[in-house]
Symmetry: D2
Subunit: 289 residues, 4 copies
Amino acid sequence: MTAPVEADIGRLVVSCTDGPGIVARVSAFLHGRGANIVQSDQFSTGPVGGRFFLRTEFHLPGLAKALPDLERDFASQVARTVGGTFQLRDAAEAPRVVLFVSRYDHCLLDLLWRARRGELPMTVVQVVSNHPDLAADVAGFGVPFAHVPVTRDTKPVAEQRELELLAGRVDLVVLARYMQVLSADFLDRVGVPVINIHHSFLPAFAGAGPYERAKQRGVKLIGATAHYATEDLDEGPIIEQDVVRVSHRAGVAELTRAGADIERAVLARAVRWHCEDRVLVDGRTTVVF
Amino acid sequence: MTAPVEADIGRLVVSCTDGPGIVARVSAFLHGRGANIVQSDQFSTGPVGGRFFLRTEFHLPGLAKALPDLERDFASQVARTVGGTFQLRDAAEAPRVVLFVSRYDHCLLDLLWRARRGELPMTVVQVVSNHPDLAADVAGFGVPFAHVPVTRDTKPVAEQRELELLAGRVDLVVLARYMQVLSADFLDRVGVPVINIHHSFLPAFAGAGPYERAKQRGVKLIGATAHYATEDLDEGPIIEQDVVRVSHRAGVAELTRAGADIERAVLARAVRWHCEDRVLVDGRTTVVF
Amino acid sequence: MTAPVEADIGRLVVSCTDGPGIVARVSAFLHGRGANIVQSDQFSTGPVGGRFFLRTEFHLPGLAKALPDLERDFASQVARTVGGTFQLRDAAEAPRVVLFVSRYDHCLLDLLWRARRGELPMTVVQVVSNHPDLAADVAGFGVPFAHVPVTRDTKPVAEQRELELLAGRVDLVVLARYMQVLSADFLDRVGVPVINIHHSFLPAFAGAGPYERAKQRGVKLIGATAHYATEDLDEGPIIEQDVVRVSHRAGVAELTRAGADIERAVLARAVRWHCEDRVLVDGRTTVVF
Amino acid sequence: MTAPVEADIGRLVVSCTDGPGIVARVSAFLHGRGANIVQSDQFSTGPVGGRFFLRTEFHLPGLAKALPDLERDFASQVARTVGGTFQLRDAAEAPRVVLFVSRYDHCLLDLLWRARRGELPMTVVQVVSNHPDLAADVAGFGVPFAHVPVTRDTKPVAEQRELELLAGRVDLVVLARYMQVLSADFLDRVGVPVINIHHSFLPAFAGAGPYERAKQRGVKLIGATAHYATEDLDEGPIIEQDVVRVSHRAGVAELTRAGADIERAVLARAVRWHCEDRVLVDGRTTVVF
């Protein structure tokens, strides 16, 4: 399942220390190579010595062929001077994504459906689940489904099996309501970003049972948070959040039901933005262009 | 400053243990007294043995005169049977409100302005501040302003002075960004509900510096929470909450500015609902009809 | 596909001219029959001579068996006095629903998915489409799919065929992005409510091409409207509406994509509320409890 | 009343036909003059032959002194090549604004209050009203108030008087619920942009009585629209819109009250964005950076 994208559109993402002339240097480089800037966003935490972030979309006929040279020359002619890190990508090369899920289907089905209708520029190469329940639904989308059961004792073995499934064929892992905590070792070895959806408006109700605790506390809005998974549970950089109004009439079941709509919407936006190279990590937070 | 209200509209609020026939008993009582139910809301946490909450607005010609008898008869004929607590009020009798404020003017001015234009069914009888800054603004609304400075040492004396200012002439205290923590003793002795506005989406960022901490955590929405003040700081029953979207571009100053709009809107709604007898406390939470 | 519901819960809906004592009469009747009111909402457009609307949910052991007698007695003992119309339903009897669709899948799949997971108290008995495209998707949900092609010339025949498909086995028709205008004759003969989703915030952009016109006009929010279908296209009573923010960057394709999320959310809410007997028609508008 | 702004921040706004190298040319020019780009936004309706819009904020020590030369050189070195129009401004030079109002105070007071607390980078030089009602409120903010009555017969004379009041001392006119229609002649002669707030979600309910018509149509959301005033009433380019949810319980008075909150919020955002040079007109629509 791959979404169609425009041809000859490249994306350049830069993170570095701010200083004078970065935009001028980058735009001169692109102009000199025949690229026309279609859209450009930048952000600085402070003009002198702050952190600088740039995302530029450009049109360059023959991009796919030109990309290796472009990358090499940008590294030597621009990046060497401005420092930091950069990434150059062909927008037509959709990231390869593996979805992890347990039993709740709402986030998984929404991502698969959006990918199928061309809303998410990604290729779903695999679904991994610690339960067999959703196999048939996934089959309907023509995506391979791997059932990898996890118990406390088998977790290291299970994670090893998961890493083997992913090896060399994945650019992003999405935890679409995967109810197992991934080990620090897994996160370390997987080598690609991992996006998780948490069913509360973090930092409120981190940890287990957020809807139960939301009910007890009597909050008037419930929310969901998509963030990059890190070793520290529910502490990774937040990509997107949203909330929905609830009343005293809603019990935990109703909160869970209402929350599912927010969870799938928030996760879909976070995954889309990531796949469009819009999300840049800035320490514990993110810049979203 | 008092808002006009319709004549002959009464409000009955009941909190009790649920059981069969409560609505039938209440509506039969009101109908028997010539009252016509204009609006009625009820909520039960469980049909047998749960907590039951009722708010009824009724029209009764000659209400003001009839109210004492109505109250006595409801107590003996209905409340004795269904148990719990009840309150009968003439909607034309606006609650007397005292506003506490420090230096930020946005919540205070918004409440005074809404009261003046008849949006809030309350009479503001006094503004109390630990700073003199807002005296002129308050004078413009024709409301008495008392400057009661507070330091760590003088706090007991200051609170004593505040209690004397309030004694016998207040139905509600509103902390409109009052930056002093009221003592448990004050809350105990004041004898009327106290509504506070906290500048975060509780339980996230309870305590001091919520916007600073929101920036550090990189949340994508900031919020405000109006709640009844209790001994446990920022832990009282929540009346209303709302949020607004922010981006990575917003620094702490911009969060503070954007948050002020949410704070004043949330507090105004909470105060209005309280003054309209819509808010019933249910343990640590509220029912808002 | 049927959603589970609680047993022994009945719903009474009343629309009549307002006057004193209606609530008392209704609640006394229910109490006298052993029913306990679980929730009750009412609304009046004016205490004397206005229109009065009531929705009461009650718990009555053995409801299914008692319903015919209850209905007969309510008609003779209450409805005869208060006038107007009423409806008594067993909440366990899910309405039978037929979904009409053309080629866009988002509204249809969302309704089928919500019904399957028990979020919508309805039984989908049939999907009707003027295109064959979505047959496989519908089959995956185990719902019969009928392809009824429609051209300008065959429309009367097609509508006749549709009416035969529906005859005697449907309580509600939902147009889930069905791109044919149903004739006044069809609406007349179908004999059950028809809910439509229009892809704009009505009354803005009624008629064809709403996203194109929204782009031309440069609106900053786009919306969707669920309403009962009537002879006057896009003029029927509105059940629910919502909007989403868009920027100048969004072209028509992006508006269409963003709008799809709002369309499916708005339609799902409208259908749920209808199936829960929460929507009462009041002339050209609705009361939604 | 002037808001403080950062020193040495300049803003460059460009509207032209799109073509290759515009960003490179602009950023090279600024870099060559010692300016550091702080933020930059651009938008194109199409890479070849589309309309191109750019807004750049830059830091340049000694800006105020350098501005005339900068402007002249940009015109000859860049604008001559890329065509279109441009504007270079010192962010410290707050636009001079005249507010028009009739009797409703909510938009006026909110703008004055936001200007006083430094939220709006503008200098309010005059309030003009066709009614004397708000004179005292305006005086409290230290802003001159001119009462210019308008009747059908005196309208040309009144508009002449208004134009004289404004002549040479205004950069923006804001109609903060000014209930007179300004003539095409006035709009032509005033020579600066005029922002109006309309109390509906345009294009729904253009013209008079929008809340009455919203009630009749039974919409579930009401809104407000800030737009540039043009000859065609309620047809000018939209700058900002927002909505708030309402229920069947809200009568016209309640819609009006709830709408006031949206009106003042929408107008304040539109005025702020305009004063920050974020709003670029694109035919009948706007680009808002």
